[in-house]
């Protein structure tokens, strides 16, 4: 594995290997006072974020540092990107400067695929930290890690993904990864927030959240971006919240073992009630915690484990 660009096409074996590595890294670090492994000492990892992000960038940075990699953060505003440099030139520059891995978030779907193409003659790995409305594979991996931890496994499990599927890279990555790992996925959203071509996806589609909750093992709430609320995708935040928000009453429809996930940042009261977000069945902080281990595992497989992973 040279790059991690998408969950589409990621094999079950490759995904499982990353998740298993993340588990063992988590166990290794558990209870340690000094959380630092020497594995990636001397490797240079550059994060390149063309969109604002706190949690993902920080998570990658911590992951790199706990693996002893040299982590450099580049933001589009404080670099020559702001001077109009092309993505290609920026990528070639960072690779030439010695990056072993570039971790990229970009507003254009497919930008990371282009990057991987431009860097194909170099040894530099590319990790997709979110490309437009396409994919966010490490988010799906950390969601899968959290679900494995809570549910014991994903085979035969039923996961509802609720909300703005149309614009969600988290949803796209999860649809691919969760189904690859043997889970059934049901997408729950108003028709305006589902892609027109969703019929080709290996999922079932529902427009009624209440009808789905009693049969799921987990429910993943998606973020509703403010600009969608004014874009005519649904009549009002209130109507959305009434139909698709995870209220306390709705939480009671879930089976006892069912888990609640949210990729963050959350809109409390709109997508998810505070009581639900803070309840024991919510795994939201677990997701963040697992995110670091999953990203450590990804870096390990890309930069140290080329021989081990097919």
């Amino acid at each position: 594995m040279k790059h991690l660009l998408s969950c589409d096409g990621l094999s079950r074996d490759a995904a499982t290997a990353v998740l298993d590595t993340a588990d063992s890294l988590k166990q290794t670090l558990l209870g340690r006072e000094v959380r630092k492994l020497p594995t990636l000492r001397g490797r240079t990892v550059i994060t390149m974020f063309y969109e604002n992000s706190t949690r993902t960038r920080v998570s990658f940075e911590i992951a790199g540092k706990w693996m002893s990699a040299d982590v450099v953060n580049v933001s589009s505003s404080g670099s020559s990107v702001g001077k109009g440099e092309s993505l290609r030139d920026t990528a070639l520059t960072l690779a030439a400067a010695g990056a072993d891995c570039v971790i990229v978030r970009h507003p254009a779907s497919g930008a990371v695929h282009r990057l991987a193409g431009w860097l194909s003659h170099t040894h530099t790995s590319v990790v997709n930290a979110g490309d437009g409305t396409h994919e966010h594979p490490t988010q799906a991996l950390l969601d899968a890690a959290t679900l494995r931890e809570r549910l014991g496994g994903l085979d035969g499990r039923r996961i509802a993904i609720v909300g703005d599927v149309l614009h969600s890279r988290v949803a796209r990555s999860n649809v691919h990864l969760l189904t690859t790992l043997g889970a059934e996925v049901v997408l729950v959203a108003p028709p305006t927030l589902l892609p027109t071509g969703v019929s080709g996806w290996p999922v079932t589609v529902s427009h009624e959240l209440d009808a789905e909750l009693s049969a799921v093992d987990a429910v993943m709430m998606l973020r509703v971006q403010a600009e969608r609320m004014h874009g005519g995708f649904f009549p009002s935040a209130r109507e959305y919240s009434i139909a698709y928000g995870l209220s306390e009453a709705r939480m009671r429809l879930l089976p006892d073992h069912a888990v609640v996930l949210h990729p963050g940042p959350m809109l409390r009261g709109m997508e998810i009630a505070s009581v639900v977000a803070d309840s024991p069945r919510a795994a939201i902080t677990d997701q963040v915690r697992n995110g670091v281990h999953v990203r450590m595992a990804v870096l390990y497989h890309l930069l140290a484990g080329e021989e081990e992973v097919a």
């Binding site: 930008a111 695929h113 437009g132």
Partner: protein, 427 residues
């Protein structure tokens, strides 16, 4: 005096010799030629020179990607004897000065008749009509008007344009794209775009404008030309409109006949074009509609772009692809080889109908004594491999890179003068 020896007109019947004198075909059969040039055309098919209703020559404004000179060479090498240059240059061809410049440069280069298309609205803004009459009466004698690249979306402006065009006996060519349905659109709205996370360009955004404009054209009694039809639904709308007597004509691009949105998986913007590549079933419906005559002709939408405008992320890339030198081969691949068109049909969709639609009296004429010698000789058995860097255009953005395509243009002749021969433009 030139003698084309052993060519088969329209690929029908026995080889004949075609004698060309003073820009006209003077005799067909076994004429005597004394002293003139003899071109061995054995095994070649003779067709009337092609006419492209939709070309972007980029001059003025983007001479780094194409000029009237390089675009004319590409046209001649593609078998074209007349091309219509779209108005979305910089500055926009919305006034007599620009259209006359384009027309004059075309004449100076002399490889192909370059007919400027005028803008329908000032600055392509869709707000008020450009001076269509002044452009029509200029030396450029503009016959077609289009805001191509953009849709004349305001129904009242479009109605007025159609209505006004009647008085000048000119043609309005519409780029059919309802802009409210294509805000931020990047790819055909369907399974591929859904998977790739690209904002959708729905078929209905084209079809609804075509339906609206057919109704408006019928209402005001004007002619309408529909640019680059890309969906099966648009073909259905055209079939319906033609059946009820609307004076509507339509073109399809070679790329919409051959390619589909499966090509988008790499995110390589060489496949980005507007309207976008649709599904394989749309492409099939377009091929059938062209064979049936519901779509009248093939037009290239030849759109050169600089490397930096394609060598970038998908959403930042400019839409468009080269087409002049590959059009015939794509038509052979998609229409002739599957038996949808014979060579007589190729002459119809690439020369006769576009010349008729544009009102060109001396192109798309029969290959017969007394007719203007605007001709192309095609080797139907030969193939060639496309290499963008070796095409005559300054830009190299061809989606057919590395593809082996059938049908090779061996010679092009404009009013009896060779403009291209054996892969070289003849100045």
């Amino acid at each position: 005096m030139t003698l084309l020896k052993g060519a088969v007109p329209y690929g029908e019947g026995d080889p004949v010799d075609i004698l060309i004198e003073d820009g006209f075909v003077s005799e067909i059969g076994t004429p005597e030629s004394d002293g003139g040039e003899v071109i061995d055309a054995h095994g070649l098919i003779a067709l009337p020179g092609f006419v492209d209703l939709h070309t972007h020559l980029r001059e003025p404004g983007r001479e780094d990607t194409e000029t009237i000179e390089t675009g004319s060479a590409a046209a001649a090498l593609g078998g074209y004897t007349a091309v219509f240059a779209m108005a979305n240059t910089d500055p926009v061809a919305d006034n007599p000065v620009i259209v006359e410049h384009v027309w004059r440069r075309g004449r100076e280069v002399g490889l192909v008749d370059v007919h400027p298309i005028g803008a329908v609205t000032v600055g392509l803004k869709g707000e008020r009509l450009a001076e269509l009459g002044a452009m029509a009466r200029s030396d450029a004698n503009v016959r077609i008007f289009s805001d191509d690249g953009l849709c004349v979306a305001d129904p009242l402006i479009m109605r007025r344009a159609l209505e006004y065009s009647r008085g000048l006996d000119v043609l309005i060519a519409q780029h059919a794209e309802e802009p409210r349905l294509t805000v931020g659109a990047q790819a055909h709205e369907g399974e591929t775009a859904a998977r790739l996370g690209l904002a959708g360009w729905p078929a209905a955004a084209e079809e609804s404008i075509v339906a609206r404009d057919c109704l408006l054209a019928g209402h005001v009694g004007a002619r309408l030309h529909v640019c680059h039809v890309s969906t099966a639904g648009t073909a259905d709308v055209l079939r319906w409109a033609k059946a009820r007597g609307t004076q509507v004509s339509a073109e399809v691009t070679p790329h919409h006949l051959l390619l589909d949105d499966d090509r988008l998986n790499t995110y390589d913007p060489v496949n980005k074009v507007n309207p976008p590549l649709r599904t394989s079933s749309d492409a099939k419906a377009l091929r059938e509609a062209l064979a049936e005559g519901v779509i009248d002709c093939v037009a290239t939408d030849h759109a050169p772009h600089a490397p930096q405008d394609k060598d970038c992320e998908w959403s930042a890339a400019r839409p468009g692809m080269l087409g002049l030198q590959t059009a015939l081969s794509v038509v052979v691949r998609t229409m002739v080889q599957p038996g949808l068109l014979d060579w007589r049909g190729v002459a119809r969709v690439m020369s006769e109908r576009p010349a008729e639609i544009a009102g060109l009296p001396d192109h798309g004429r029969p290959i017969a004594a007394g007719e203007p010698a605007n001709l192309v000789l095609v080797d139907p058995k030969a193939t060639w491999t496309v290499n963008g860097a070796r095409l005559a255009s300054l830009a190299g953005n061809t989606p057919y890179e590395g593809m082996e395509l059938p049908g090779v243009v061996k010679a092009t002749m404009l009013r009896g003068k060779l403009t291209a021969r054996d892969g070289q433009a003849v100045r």
